[in-house]
């Protein structure tokens, strides 16, 4: 049936999207905020690897967690304040937990309904 095919396609899309959830990357930058704010908006693209590197922005901490639990960490040289570490750790923890719940919800329930 057409509807059934549509639903199956949606399920495939969801599964593909979930595929992106297979890894989690959290990067914590520091720098002068005025360097990344333009026209009252935060320029997030300047933080990306292919962003404008001229800005006074430094990558302080980076974490990549694969779905199998393997984790890769980057820690910049020099002394890193504790609150920086806490913020990064909080972001990693919430992102990880968030991702798990989303995977369970989308893949488990929605796929189950579609059958």
């Amino acid at each position: 049936m057409a509807d059934q095919s549509g639903l199956s396609a949606m399920a495939e899309t969801l599964k593909t999207a979930v595929g992106d959830l297979a890894s989690l990357e959290v990067m914590t930058y520091t720098g002068s905020i005025s360097a990344v704010v333009k026209d009252g908006k935060f320029q997030w693209d300047k933080l990306l690897p292919d962003g404008d590197t001229t800005a006074d922005i430094h990558l302080l901490l980076a974490t990549k967690i694969d779905i199998d639990g393997d984790a890769t960490h980057f820690v910049a040289s020099g002394e890193i304040p504790q609150f920086m570490l806490d913020t990064h750790a909080e972001a990693v923890r919430n992102g990880s937990e968030y991702r798990t719940q989303i995977i369970n919800f989308l893949v488990g329930k929605v796929s189950g309904i579609i059958g």
Binding site: A17, T30, G31, V37, G40, W44, I57, D86, T87, I113
Partner: protein
């Protein structure tokens, strides 16, 4: 009863027959009380406080109890021992049961009661084919003897109406019975079976007497066979039996009142030699007044009047005047017009003790039953209202809690999903005012920017805010998950129980209180 239909009859036995017809009419209208024959009716009778007395009287008459009244007593031999009334009663019942072929357990159940009915009373059919078997010989002889006594064919042993069932007593009584039946033109009157057939079937005997009444008009004692038959005594017994059968309380067939006294005859009549009829009639009337309670005498004399009027016509001319005088004197005293109060008293008494009592009693019982049912219904309605009120309170509470739950849940859900789809998280709208900013892509990858000029407190404040938001998001996902499950269940329930599924859903939501989901939602809600 319509007495006008009875008056024109010729003989007083015709009167009885016409009474019978009238009573049959009433019987069809269920006016006359039917004696208990079913188990249910018998159980009702068993509960009567006088039941034991009735049984004891019957057992005494049949010779199974040694004294007329049931009382505890001291036994003289072999040693003095106190025997309770209960024990005496039980032993008498056991003796009867043993002879009647029922289980001798001393307990009067339906089987024992029916045996008593058959052997003692006149209103119950006696299955002679059963009782003529050898094993029942003893009890049958007692029953025959009792009937012969009642009908005036046998002497009362020691002046008591108590059967012994001895061969001598039976032989003499049956001979007199056969003699009377012979005068009534009964075929094979001398046969044992014929006598039994008539003395155990009063209707048959009455009809035979009514039909051959002219043969008994001599009104003298018959001297045939085994001895003299007191025809007048037999007829008055028969009349009393019939009246008793038709529900006149207080009449005890065979019962003899105190010694005859001519209370109703004027003194001037004493020199007149009374004919047997006059003696028997006066005796009967006197007994009648003794037997029948005063309260019902007036009613009973109404019937007696009818009989007397007819009897006088049958007498010869010699004694007619005497009878007329007797009747006149008797009736003038007995059939006085009732005052209103007397009428009311009689009515009350008849309602209390007559067969009309059964009707009124039935109505009273019905009224009580109706009242009981109504009370029960009202109680049920009250209970139902109370339960309904409780149910309404419970429903209101459930609904209130449920809607509160849903309202909170929806807020958490909406806010949670708002944060879920919101890529940039910050505490203040203007980016430069924030110490920390967080950006999250669809696949949960995050970029965190911390201003170098931010203090530790500002960063902690962000972290705290971020944690709260994450709780809401997590709660939203949990609620969404639960909603999906409930939606599936709701569809399933609606397919089975229709709109009732909504109630089930509300109850399930209510029951969610205390669950992990609820706790998480509560935790998320208090973050606001």
């Amino acid at each position: 009863m319509d007495e006008s239909a009875i008056k024109p009859q010729e003989t007083y036995l015709d009167v009885l027959v016409s009474i019978e017809k009238q009573l049959e009419v009433n019987q069809k209208a269920n006016v006359i009380f039917a004696l208990p024959e079913t188990e249910a009716q018998f159980k009702t009778l068993q509960q009567d406080k006088d039941f034991k007395k009735v049984v004891w009287r019957r057992l005494y008459a049949l010779g199974y109890a040694d004294r007329a009244k049931l009382k505890s007593r001291w036994q003289n031999v072999p040693e003095r021992r106190f025997i309770s009334a209960k024990s005496l009663y039980k032993k008498a019942v056991e003796r009867f049961q043993k002879d009647a072929g029922t289980q001798p357990d001393g307990w009067v159940g339906l089987e024992t009661w029916e045996s008593l009915q058959e052997l003692f009373t006149f209103e119950h059919d006696t299955h002679l084919n059963k009782w003529l078997k050898p094993q029942y010989q003893h009890v049958l002889h007692r029953a025959i003897h009792l009937r012969l006594i009642i009908l005036g064919f046998a002497e009362k042993p020691g002046g008591k109406i108590q059967a012994t069932g001895t061969s001598r007593a039976l032989t003499a009584g049956l001979a007199r019975c056969a003699a009377l039946l012979g005068h009534l033109n009964v075929d094979q009157a001398e046969a044992f079976a014929t006598c039994l057939d008539y003395i155990f079937d009063i209707d048959k005997l009455t009809k035979r007497v009514a039909k051959n009444f002219s043969h008994l008009q001599s009104w003298s004692a018959l001297s045939d066979g085994g001895g003299a038959v007191d025809v007048a005594g037999f007829l008055k017994s028969l009349l009393k039996i019939e009246l008793w059968l038709y529900g006149f309380e207080g009449i005890m067939p065979g019962h003899q009142g105190p010694e005859y006294q001519v209370r109703y005859l004027p003194p001037v009549q004493r020199h007149v030699k009374k004919a047997p009829l006059a003696t028997a009639l006066s005796d009967f009337l006197d007994e009648f007044k003794v037997d029948v309670p005063k309260e019902t005498q007036h009613h009973s004399f109404r019937l007696m009047e009818l009989a007397l009027v007819q009897l006088a016509q049958l007498d010869d001319d010699t004694i007619r005047q005497v009878h007329a005088a007797e009747r006149s004197a008797l009736l003038s005293k007995s059939i006085e017009p009732l005052t209103n109060k007397q009428h009311q008293d009689l009515r009350k008494y008849m309602c209390k003790t007559g067969f009309g009592n059964w009707l009124f009693d039935g109505l009273k019982r019905f009224y009580r039953w109706l009242k009981s049912v109504a009370s029960h219904v009202m109680q049920s309605i009250y209970e139902f209202r109370r339960k309904l009120k409780m149910l309404a309170v419970a429903a209101k509470r459930i609904a209130s809690d449920t809607f509160s739950f849903v309202r909170r849940g929806m807020k958490v859900l909406v806010d949670g999903f708002k944060y879920l789809v919101q890529p940039e998280w910050k505490m203040f709208d203007k980016p430069e005012e924030n110490a920390v900013l967080l950006w999250r892509s669809a696949d949960m990858d995050s970029l965190v920017f911390v201003n170098t000029q931010a203090s530790a407190e500002q960063v902690h404040a962000f972290n705290e805010q971020f944690r709260k938001i994450m709780i809401r998001v997590r709660a939203a996902i949990t609620i969404a998950n639960w909603l999906v499950n409930e939606a599936i269940n709701l569809f399933k329930d609606m397919a089975i129980s229709g709109p009732l599924a909504m109630v089930t859903l509300l109850i399930r939501i209510y029951k969610m209180r205390g669950s992990q989901e609820f706790e998480l939602m509560k935790q998320a809600y208090i973050t606001y």
